[in-house]
Point group: C3
Chain length 277, copies 3
């Protein structure tokens, strides 16, 4: 597997038709240019290998699945997405992932906030460790709106009221509440999660692939928002992130512990403090 | 706050950027011309005050949030809505509320039936007292269909099967079942509800407002039905309410305790008796 | 009730405005030409009888609600549907059922897989025995995609992630998980199910019928997919079922116990074994 050996931020292993990728971008799995670059390479590799059917995403960091984007390198990570999405947008990259012929499963332990949540939402299914998984779309705290598909997916999965609660509060949701609201398929006890996801991935991979692409197409015709809506959210995020208020909010937060491993463990609780002028 | 001091049926208090309105239209918080008039005034006031960000609706009556419309004054309350909605329709008034730049939260204790449920559904979020809140769309019992957005919201929030159950049965749903079906965001123990909603309202109000309007627009582009659909339901309700069968059903029910405080406590259970010819 | 006396596979009884049909097509309630023929006759009879308002579907077999289609008689059962649907398609027949002026309730005990699940999904509401009901869309195991509305309904009821889990895994879902995901309205203890559904059916039948058709129309304008989408899924199923791989998979499975009463009790668990080359 030459093309995946070179990945810096993904530890890949194959078991039959299932490819598992453990995210490992210390110190906290920020979605920066390196991780986006590697996700693009992995996808290109996997989609080109007709013997692969299922992709499972895990994290090698027990506290962070994907923390969120690296707010200091927005232009750079967006550019890496263009290689596969055709445009500098992780929203469009994530939509490409959703529309892939591959079946994708997010196995989430630890924190999945912002684009980390949106990456999980872009996968076909999401299963999370009941004791440790945390989901959030904290963009509003910085005067931003989610730009990588979070709005498109959350509103369709949980309805207007619950999506507005999650999006406007910018708060942390634990796995049980995320399951209750439909953010994820199921919360599973951490000790059982790996076996559960592995069995499901192998089961799906073992069934005939004949109508799988067709099935996903029919589902996505109903439930996957068109490219234009993902592009619009992506553009609005980029535009707002260049606003001086948003920049100041991100700088203030970063000075106080945002984008640090310790500083974000309880981000939902401390986010207001991080923003103090 | 000159404009809200004059309100007869709403007791308003302000805490920072959060405005709370307690509904108080004795004897049972019917949605009649006075309450609609005051809701219009409140909204006009609040939307014009740039320092306000969040509106919380509560009831001062522990048994009734909003009972439903005053069936004896349909033309009059509709006319009051025209001042803000541009047309005599509470469905269009409620849609205006949903599309407002203000974040709106319904804190429901007691009964929210018919237009009371629809008012809560028009708010951005709904939290209800586990022990006392009751939701219903009883229109079918009178040969009517909900005309103020109930169909539009319930089908999108809970799907076809559960919405049809609620709409066709005209029955009462307690807070737990309403939460389970997605009618509300969450059922919260009554003793904890006020603190929960207050904290959420203050949290939202304290975050930067920069992208809030944009976020609501993007959400509503997905999940808020167009004006034309609200208008159609509203017109159909008005038309059906003029039908002689519906009029007779409402008159019979009123003679037997409908539109009285005691007579509606268990409306879901007794509604068939109220309709006897 | 001359027209329903002649039904071979449906045992019909009437109680006021409620007509109940118990499915009885031994040995396992396969959906073959006889059952489709009788469902068409029942619907034609019931829709023509203005005094009927509610249709309840039950099974006389405690282990099977409807097992799935008879894979050896696909052309024949499709042809029977044409009598009511105008085209040889049970997907279009089921959509006709959904759009009927009659209120339809599926009371599910035992297994409802494939078209059995899709028939329940086509009803206005679904209530299932907590201890015995099992739902599945096993089509992917044969290289097929559901062709009778399962995709259209499941995605709208449970969202993209959970629908993909159910559709791609082809696995069995018990009543509690089906309720949690929104596949059904509620799981009810088996001992209480009949009384629950009977009371609901009689309640609905006892309310004025004036606005009932209008209400269903307004709901379906939001949540019932257009005929063209049902037709497309139906055509794709037929096409794929003629593929040599799918035929071989069905033949292999049938040799090993598929389409037998005993062989399908735990179909979700044994389906991979049934497919062995």
């Amino acid at each position: 597997m030459a093309t995946t050996d070179a990945l810096e931020t993904l530890r890949v292993r194959r078991d039959g038709a299932v490819l598992s990728a453990d995210i490992w971008a210390p110190p906290m799995n920020l979605l920066g240019p390196e991780l986006v670059r590697d996700l693009v390479s992995l996808l290109q590799h996997a989609e080109a290998d007709a013997s692969l059917r299922v992709l499972v995403f895990r994290s090698a960091d027990p506290d962070y699945f994907i923390a969120h984007v690296d707010v200091e390198r927005i232009a750079a990570y967006r550019q890496e997405a263009a290689r596969l999405a055709g445009e500098p947008s992780i929203g469009l990259l994530f939509r490409h992932l959703s529309a892939s012929r591959l079946v994708t499963i997010a196995q989430v332990a630890g924190r999945a906030r912002g684009a980390g949540s949106e990456f999980a939402l872009a996968c076909d299914m999401r299963f999370a460790a009941r004791e440790s998984a945390i989901f959030a779309q904290p963009e509003q705290a910085f005067g931003l709106a989610p730009g990588a598909g979070g709005i498109q997916h959350l509103v369709r999965l949980m309805g207007r009221g619950r999506a507005l609660e999650a999006l406007l509060s910018a708060d942390d949701f634990d796995a049980d509440l995320a399951e209750h609201y439909g953010w994820i398929n199921r919360a599973v006890p951490a000790a059982a999660l790996d076996a559960f996801v592995t069995a499901l991935a192998q089961r799906i991979a073992g069934l005939p692939a004949g109508a799988r692409g067709l099935l996903k197409e029919r589902v996505d015709a109903i439930a996957l928002a068109p490219v234009s809506e993902f592009r619009r959210d992506s553009d609005l995020f980029l535009e707002a992130s260049r606003d001086s208020d948003a920049k100041r909010a991100m700088q203030n937060a970063t000075r106080r512990g945002f984008q640090t491993r310790e500083g974000e463990l309880e981000l939902g609780h401390v986010i207001a403090d991080l923003l103090a002028r």
